[in-house]
């Protein structure tokens, strides 16, 4: 789950990092009053809180010279989609004059299976751009997850990006706070870009944290109704998340349900290969109950862009009889099949599953290729 900039900055502030003074406003807030309450003096920066990269270039960040201008700009930004997303919040901050913009991030390196600190003297552009234009400037330091980021490592990284004296100490303290946030919030990514060098201290002008979805149970404070607010998901993706379905919306008209991510992706690939267009990715995962299958089938039956459904099930931990029961329940609750449904069943308890479906007038396929051709021909 991606955190908003203001949330990431709140976390860093909690760990002792000095962040620019600012205030977060919602659509219905009295922006002028909120700015004055916060004691913010122009010049100010008005920042759309959307979870997309390249927000500044897309017009989501504006420098203003008066409170009135800030109010106007905030109003306008609330109505301005940035890469298709309209913000629910806007962050208004004191502008921080600075000369140097650094880059600092901590991510999980999948191959090394360790956290890695990435830092560069040349912040302000995204990491892919830095990697293209100044690859030699990127400093990489792998961290032993049992030891954590030590002070000397943080200083060494600072040194390698050209910092000295008090600035070096300030950077090292910042990096350790960032590492703490990375660990304590189970982050996949903790990043500041740009990280401004102001005199002899560093101040994060932007901050980004992505929390591992599997660790959200440890952070109940982060879970407040944010799926809609994030703007990251389509209407049907939001609905699916609420139902606990692993679902991605695509642009075709054939609803796809599979068990297991690899098989479900392959099912999409098969639909394309034989000339159809998948409307979605929906993975019922391993060991799906009849209840979950019912929810998944019912969900696609209701989704208008889905004209027909292809279910591709190969049972391992998933039992074909449970899947069949779920399909039957969905049909019963909907009072009959609303759209054509083609089912392919193989694997654990396959015969029992087939029998249950047959009793309800549905014949399941064994061969996925025959099944996919059938659904496309309908």
């Amino acid at each position: 789950m991606k955190l908003f900039e203001f949330e990431a900055k709140d976390i860093l502030r909690k760990y002792g990092v000095e962040v620019p003074p600012g205030v977060v406003v919602g659509k219905t807030d009295d922006v002028e009053a909120r700015i004055k309450e916060a004691g913010l003096e122009p010049p100010l920066v008005v920042k759309s809180q959307v979870l997309v990269a390249g927000r500044g270039k897309a017009g989501g960040i504006k420098l203003v010279n008066s409170v009135e201008e800030a109010v106007e700009t905030a109003k306008r930004l609330f109505e301005t989609p940035i890469k298709g997303l309209k913000p629910s919040y806007i962050l208004i901050e004191k502008a921080i004059p600075h000369d140097v913009e650094l880059y600092a991030a901590i991510v999980i390196d999948r191959s090394e299976r360790k956290p890695v600190v990435l830092a560069s003297r040349y912040g302000g552009m995204d990491i892919e751009e830095i990697a293209r234009e100044k690859p030699e400037s990127i400093v990489r330091q792998y961290i032993d997850p049992f030891v954590g980021l030590k002070g000397y490592q943080a200083r060494l990284i600072g040194k390698k990006i050209g910092l000295t004296g008090k600035a070096l100490a300030s950077f090292a303290m910042f990096l350790q706070a960032l590492y703490r946030a990375f660990v304590e919030y189970d982050a996949e990514l903790a990043e500041s870009n740009p990280l401004a060098l102001v005199g002899d201290k560093v101040i994060p002008l932007d901050a980004r944290i992505i929390v591992d979805d599997n660790a959200l149970f440890k952070h109940p404070e982060l879970r407040t109704a944010r799926v809609e607010e994030s703007g990251e998901y389509t209407e049907w993706e939001v609905k699916a998340r609420k139902l606990g379905l692993a679902f991605v919306e695509l642009d075709g008209d054939i609803g796809v349900i599979g068990n297991g991510a690899g098989l479900t992706m392959t099912t999409m690939d098969l639909v394309y290969e034989f000339g159809g267009r998948p409307a979605n990715f929906l993975d019922i995962g391993g060991g799906a109950s009849a209840e979950l299958v019912k929810t998944a089938v019912g969900f696609l039956m209701e989704m208008p862009k889905v004209k027909k459904i292809f279910m591709n099930i190969f049972g391992g931990i998933t039992r074909c009889d449970e899947v069949a029961k779920g399909i039957v329940k969905a049909i019963e609750e909907l009072g009959g099949l609303k759209k054509p449904l083609v089912v392919r069943l193989s694997g654990t308890n396959e015969e029992e599953g087939r029998r249950i479906l047959r009793e309800h007038g549905l014949e399941a396929y064994t061969d996925p290729i025959e099944a996919v051709k059938r659904v496309i021909s309908l």
Binding site: I108, R110, S111, R113, K114, P115, I127, E128, D144, P145, F146, V183, D186, E188, D212, D213, N214, A215, F217, K218, A246, V248, L250, G258, N259, G260, A261, G262, L263, T264, M265, T266, M268, D269, L270, Y272, E273, P278, F281, D283, G285, G286, G287, F314, G315, G316, I317, T318, S346, G347, T348, P368, I369
Partner: protein
Amino acid sequence: MAVLVGEDTRVIVQGITGREGSFHTKLMLEYGTKIVAGVTPGKGGQEVHGVPVYDTMEEAVAEHPEANTSIIFVPARFASDAVYEAIDAGMKVVVVITEHIPVHETMKFVNYAKSKGTVIIGPNCPGIITPGAAKVGIMPGHIFKPGPVGIVSRSGTLTYEIAYSLTRAGIGQSTAIGIGGDPIVGLTFTEAMEYFEKDPQTKVLVLIGEIGGDMEERAAKMIEEGRFTKPVVAFIAGRTAPPGKRMGHAGAIIMMGTGSYQDKVKALEKAGVRVARIPQEIPKLVEEVL
């Protein structure tokens, strides 16, 4: 011969009294896997399908010192604890079936296992099977048969699909390993390939990848550098997946410019690997190199 599990495998099932643990214990026993004990804290003294249950791994190993492999069905919140318990009890191979383990926890126990010489398979995986000898996992046993093809895969159900199509084509398998769909897993493609390289039974390797990460590219590099010398046939899932979206598996995401289908296929083809467009082409491609 086979890879990592075989005739000598003696298994402890962690989380044996749960719904999935108990169900798959039954299926593994029916397949012929030698399960010597189960562990569920607080359930010591019970039996599940005739298998004695202990409260701790230490007790289980004390009673069954021949145990060398564990399989974990423990829910995500408690799964990493179970992994450490298995490593400290001296298991050589630990298969982690559990899905949704926080990645920071996996990162730690994978590093810990490495320092102790334990092989972790998973998490979020279907396990490992040496057809005819031992099944330590949740795959349907009847779709496999003994033979010359090694399988290593990031996807569970796709492994079944492909193994089944091989079996129907009369081609058996040496060992099939589902390494799991998480961003960080224990055994990687290249590590698994080191085992298959040394296994005389394995004549061809089928590699089943998906978008996200760079494990396929690393496998390609290993082949190019001559560190894996047997013929390899591959399939990569996610040709039509949009970038930036997580496709079910936590690890299946194209991000920061890496992990795309095209990059993986290009790297593999450059290394001389035949890449199938659909899984059903695999048996034909295997026959050509067998």
